[in-house]
Symmetry: C2
């Protein structure tokens, strides 16, 4: 029997490749790296979450040995509640990541039945033929890891999401020593984060935000409200430390922010030596220049604390003149309008709002081009797979790797569901497995697909028109004009269009051939055609039309 | 009788203030500046265009003396076909702007009945008590104008959209001499473009794009496809000139691009001395490095030429390895995803794609903070009204003006529909007029409103469920289980939810009190409640539910 080869299969990620999940398969051994969900795109109305398609794994449940999670962001852990129950295997990650996973599984009442195992950096986990070592990387959440996966064909290094930040404030810097050691050992395949490849140079360190916060918080005449990601503990730490320096107390507002801050304090990832963090009730009466608020809502999420403040709808905090609001974040694609609206509303309420790239109150968690060059130079991979990013990022990253001397034929640009096959001497594409988007909508997982989404888009464009026709069951002749109801089509009065449509349909049905009129299906089609044609001619719109025929 | 005061009323502009239209009123004299439309926001599905609400002017048609148009962009001329027919007045603007307006009115068969008048810079038009002088400003379309409006209370300067570009390539630079002359005359009120106020420093000149084009076009191994705005004649001129320099011919692709290039050539705004511009058919067989294509689609518009190329759906041009595609544009808010998808698809097809701020292939048409300071310093206005921009831009611009010594009480931050009243000595807000968004959808203008849009959003979220119940007309008892149809709700099989819903409704109707069952309205309500409750419980979704009761 031929020696098996190593298959690496990226799965999931709405536009991004290999972000949410990567499958490693060698003979009867499968391990899964990450299990995340993505927010839906504009073309997916009503969808709550998009998760990877694991149909390929469903036939091979017995072969799956373990899940390894690189870090605790939603796009790397968010699908666990939907996917983990299908696999009776342990989940390995670092302490904070396991903490974040626990919260999520608890919400889905899955904590008791899940086998979560906390590792330390440097630990090596055996899973079938695979041997997985975690090494630390800096990213925009503490305790992020890269993976060194020893396989029968050679060593695979998967960076996870990372940046090369040597002063990351809260967490360990990216372990360049480990990367160098792995490089010396001989990296067969490097999978590396491509998200930041459009950015020239180095991504600024997390610690560059501190002096900017210092200036803002030190000079603010009143309250300072800092909005950022709930998992960006380093940012929260800096806001806390600088508030302490300026003799301010800090209130934490927003459910996910409170949850994460409490967990980070408990687990020792966030430090509050002076007891600066206080419940809002205890500090709301302090002089405004003694108060900092750390809040959710940096992405304009409509139900978040900051959005409610911007809309004068927050239970506890009313924005007023003299407040300073800091958006310590960059809007993720699709959220720009929501964020802009909040900024506008906060300005209207009299706040000073600090936002945007020029303000230097945010840095990315992903590496710029010089960092990617450094990674490749240190690890000296034989084969290279740019991952995490949209097609343009992967291709730019592949070109960057080429410029560093990796031969083009040794660089595989992945696609979700496309199998990459590695032997000790070769790398090639080797077919596809299922990799559709699986939509979570309410309680449904995978019960809506492209047809439903297309119908939703169509309904959104021009609405729906329903015509109910009562016909004589023997002759098929209408017993009266149809009833017409609509939604999302025209305003109630409707300019006489609804009346006109009713007349048209009635007339059309009266004049049908007797033979056709005997068939409810023909009546339905006639009514639909008549309605669509009339409505389009009068309005140039195409609502969804439902003709209902009742035979009496 | 008291002396009248000058009223300035900004109207329209989805999020932006005073962008699409500004009304100037003094006693029985009204003039209108600009008449534009905006693209709908995400919350306005199915809407084609949003135009200003001119209900305030409809009672005063006789008082309106003229429309003055600052430049030929959609957001300043796009509403003319819908609004101009209500007013029997002349429209004044510069030659190219009148050309662009003519194309638009012709499409709507309104050209013959419109009174368009071309002016030269420096001309002064009398319209009632108003005296309107056009002066040249640089912007991202040729022939853009600012207006000096002499009124009984003093001189009002309206910049229109502008930047201070002293080497604008195609058009006249912003007339700083005129601004200085007006400043000396004494500017009573300055209305100034705030769009670019978030940008520090000066906006780079249009001519900075030339050297970048030179490098790209000079070094490209194959065809170069430059996508930009069809009205950005200066950009097109530079692509043409540099192609000529490198011995390339230029094909123009895309309906609006062809239309504008032809008009600009005819009117002398675009120059092609060497006859470089050729029909595609004539140059498609040249060596690829002899070909430049100038195309529509820089904003990812789905039907545009470049989008079709990216989707391998263009009738004439197939993208191939070696092609270089230049996005000479910035995605306008809301278009980011569309543009990204095109970039990804072009990369996939093997093209080299040049895009983004780092590539320096685009400059803005609006002034940065230093230019705004210069404008204010030169014109020395007594009162200041920041316009054109969202609330945050206006407030930042107001603060900038304050920093230049304009007293805060002399700065009015406008809102659409809010009347600003000026006398010779004072400025104040003075009530509101109607300023709703008016939606154009197909042939309908203003026939859909917020209710329709909310229904569309709801339909998009969870779809629609229709239940048709036949009941005994005497007893109200159901004659059988209801028929249920749905769209945008669940996939056909639907996990038994539709079957379950049918059973639930049937049971509920069978068990209704006899008195209630006698009322079709009660039957309807019972069915709706039962369906909504059952569906939400089973799926956590809330489709729109239409119960239809037919009595037999």
């Amino acid at each position: 029997m031929a020696k098996p080869k190593l298959h690496i299969i990226p799965l999931g990620g709405v536009g991004e490749i290999g972000k949410n999940m990567a499958v490693f398969e060698y003979g009867n051994n499968i391990i899964v790296v990450d299990c995340g969900g993505m927010f839906p795109e504009e073309t997916m109305p009503g969808v709550d979450l998009v998760i990877p398609d694991v149909s390929y794994l469903m036939d091979k449940q017995k072969k799956v040995r373990a899940f390894f999670i690189t870090h605790g962001h939603e796009d790397h852990i968010g699908a666990l509640p939907y996917i983990l129950p299908h696999f009776d295997v342990p989940v390995y990650s670092t302490a904070l990541t396991i903490g974040l996973i626990s919260v999520k599984l608890k919400e889905h009442r899955l904590l008791g039945t899940s086998d979560l195992r906390t590792i330390e950096f440097g630990d090596r986990i055996h899973a079938g033929v695979f041997d997985v070592e975690f090494f630390s990387v800096a990213h925009s959440v503490p305790d992020a890891a890269g993976l060194a996966i020893r396989t029968p064909v050679g060593l695979v290094v998967h960076t996870g999401d990372f940046k090369i930040d040597l002063t990351p404030v809260d967490s360990k810097p990216t372990d360049i020593g480990a990367l160098a050691r792995l490089g010396t050992e001989g990296v067969h395949v490097l999978l590396a984060d491509s998200t930041g490849v459009e950015r020239a140079g180095y991504t600024p360190s997390e610690s560059t935000v501190g002096p900017v916060f210092d200036e803002i918080i030190g000079n603010a005449p009143g309250r300072v409200i800092v909005a950022t990601f709930a998992s960006l503990i380093a940012r929260i730490q800096q806001a806390v430390d600088i508030s302490r320096k300026h003799d301010r107390k800090v209130a934490v507002i927003g459910r996910s922010m409170l949850q994460n801050v409490n967990m980070a304090l408990d687990l020792g990832y966030l430090h509050d030596p002076g007891g600066v963090i206080q419940p809002w009730e205890k500090i709301s009466n302090l002089s405004p220049n003694k108060v900092t608020v750390i809040s959710t809502g940096a992405q304009g999420e409509p139900a978040s604390a900051l959005s409610r403040m911007a809309n004068r709808d927050h239970r506890q905090i009313q924005i007023r003149k003299g407040d300073t609001v800091v958006f310590s974040s960059t809007p993720i694609p699709g959220n720009e309008e929501l964020v802009s609206r909040n900024i506008d509303n906060l300005f209207k309420l009299g706040a000073n709002v600090i936002y945007g790239a020029d303000a230097r109150v945010h840095v990315s968690g992903h590496p710029g081009r010089e960092e990617l060059k450094m990674l490749t130079s240190i690890t000296q991979p034989r084969f290279m797979v740019p991952v995490h990013g949209e097609v343009r990022h992967l291709i730019l990253h592949a070109r960057l790797a080429e410029s560093l001397g990796i031969p083009p034929q040794n660089i595989l640009v992945p696609e979700n569901g496309r199998v990459m096959e590695f032997s000790e001497n070769s790398a090639r594409y080797s077919g596809h497995v299922g990799a559709n988007n699986v939509f979570v909508d309410g309680l449904g997982v995978g019960d809506i697909g492209d047809v439903v989404l297309r119908d939703r888009q169509k309904l959104a464009q021009d609405g729906v028109v329903i015509a109910v026709m009562t016909v004589d069951q023997r002759t098929g002749r209408p017993l009266g004009p149809p009833d017409i109801v609509s939604a999302g089509f025209v305003d109630v009065a409707g300019d006489g269009i609804v009346d006109g449509a009713r007349d048209q349909v009635f007339k059309a049905l009266q004049h049908m051939h007797a033979s056709a009129a005997a068939e409810p299906m023909y009546i339905q089609n006639k009514a639909r055609d008549t309605l669509q044609k009339y409505i389009y001619q009068k309005t140039k719109r195409r609502p969804m039309v439902f003709p209902v025929v009742v035979e009496v």
